[in-house]
């Protein structure tokens, strides 16, 4: 038997999450994200032009396809809800839809909660979630929590990890 440290409910051995309060029940020693030197990332400066007007209407793309890093791993996601990009860390309640751990996320400076892609008023946008090493579109760094439009063919960069964007 094991006991939830948070609400004291008991569970059978090997249980992963407390069924009462949802707490992760395994010990964990994952590492946090180290800041990278700015030279390593190669950013060009923050976006200069005013951010584009978001389209008022229209349905826009239904899905997004991402080509990730050197491995060229490809994933496809519907845009019916926000897609979070980061690194899985159950102990701190981080379950990104797109876990970049296997793409060298930690070494490349990807935060656990790094950025999210979502559709707003028919336009696909990306928002930096206060990541340590920043989110970039075509080399331009985004201000945290300020969503910017994402276009087909854009180069998205999380820390040093490059992601190519395809909208469908």
């Amino acid at each position: 038997m094991i006991k939830c440290p948070f609400c004291q409910t008991t569970h059978v051995a090997n249980t992963l999450f407390c069924s009462e309060c949802g707490t992760y029940l395994l010990e964990d020693d994952r590492r946090g994200t180290d800041p990278l030197g700015t030279g390593e990332i190669g950013w060009v400066g923050t976006e200069e032009e005013g951010s584009e007007h978001l389209a008022q209407h229209g349905s826009g793309p239904l899905g997004v396809r991402l080509h990730i890093g050197e491995s060229g791993r490809q994933v496809e996601a519907p845009l019916s809800k926000a897609i979070h990009l980061g690194r899985l860390d159950p102990a701190s309640d981080v379950f990104p839809e797109l876990d970049l751990s296997e793409d060298g996320g930690l070494e490349k400076g990807v935060s656990r909660r790094h950025a999210r892609i979502l559709k707003r008023e028919g336009t696909v946008v990306v928002e930096d979630l206060g990541s340590i090493n920043g989110t970039f579109i075509n080399g331009k760094r985004l201000a945290p929590y300020l969503p910017e439009a994402l276009h087909d063919g854009d180069q998205l960069q999380l820390g040093k990890l490059l992601i190519e964007v395809e909208l469908s």
Binding site: N14, L16, C21, L26, S59, Q74, V75, D93, F95
Partner: protein, 492 residues
Amino acid sequence: MQIDKDYYEILGIPQTATDEEIRQAYRSLARRSHPDVSGDAEASEEFQDVQEAYETLSDPAQRQKYDQWREQQGRDKSSALSLRAIASHQTLLAIPEEQAYYVLLNATPASDLPTSRLPLNLSLVLDRSTSMQGMRLQQVKEATRQIIDKLQPEDALSLVVFSDRAEVLLPSQHNVDKAMAKSIASTIQPSGGTEMLQGLLSGLSEIERNQSDTSVNHLILLTDGQTYGDEQGCLEEAEAAGNRQISLSTMGIGSDWNEDLLDQMAALSGGVSTYIDSPRKVVDIFKDTVRSLGLVVARELVMSINPRSGIRLHEAFQITPHIRRLESRGDRMVLGPLGTDQGKAILMEFRVQGLPVNEQRLMRITVEGDVPGKANRRSWEWVELAAVISETPDPDADIPPPIVTALGKLAIFKMQEKAMADLEAGEISAATQRLETMATRLLNLGETDLARAALLEAGRLARTGDLSAEGRKKIRYGTRALSILPKEIHHD
């Protein structure tokens, strides 16, 4: 052994059928096809097949031999399904007490399967009651026109509107004249109340006019209100439709409709219910639903689990396309249709106790499905799971990330289930507390909208003792969509 005969298909039973089920299937088929009864040659051939199938399957030794051959055959012919199972543990500690063991099963269409689109036999059944006036109806008309534009000549479409009564605007037909159909859709005017059963019945009878074995027979029902007095009728019709291979997408717009009813109707027919929180989303949701309909590989998947003794299934959930609890019927679970563009992920939690030390075969999981696009339509695939039962723990053992991710999202869905159960039982303060805990978890996940809804409803619950109609829907449909995960694309 004869190569081209599938005895299970001849008897119309799954591979996991019990002796009793085999006997029953045989009796009813033999009665129908017996040459003395029917007298025609075709029937007598059928009778011989039935006879042969029964003789083989009713004899345990012969059945085992046949099963082995059939499975071999399934592998060799490359099944239309591909299964991949990930287990939480490769090594289980030999302890006297019960322990948990998780399996995440991914069912996807086999990569070499030609992805031909199946023809649609679709009926749109639309609520045109007074409350639909304005933006709602406007968007529904636009969505309908866009669906019409996407139709292929082989697709059949019918258009039904309902208020106090139902009206067939476009009878079911192939080769739809698109300009004509779109102008009909544009004429829909709001008036009257909401009598859902009438609309449902008209839509179903339109579908039946063009129903075939190889088409995807589907009804999309959209409403924004409560229907009164005919709920039971709606449920019965939905279940009957499911039995006739017609599935229902039920969609509620706004907050005044009955989510229990729409949910159950969809579930009974093997379809999905959707909450449309803003009229702007109608077009996307309609388009997405219709697009994925044609991309069905298997119309109904059935999973069966054969664990060794000492292991039992504790609970099972579908994780993708959306979270839902799976109920077993006997030792089987109905998983619903499998699309070409989206696989199904199933998470099972087992309880293990008293296994002897050593390497152990734990279970076999079999998935069967009806694949309309394949010559041999009954397709199946299975996976075997094994683990080492050891006295010493494995220091390098890590729970695979996909299992952790799935369970993390599932934990929130289950809290929602429990909060609703507490509420149902009148345990207001327990339900409130759960919603608050849930809001914290959701906030951590970055699901701010859903977190806000949960927190608002927790406050309302504490004050008024109930949830708002809108909040109920937001939480219910929001938590089941938590598991939408990107799909890996493989290029071979």
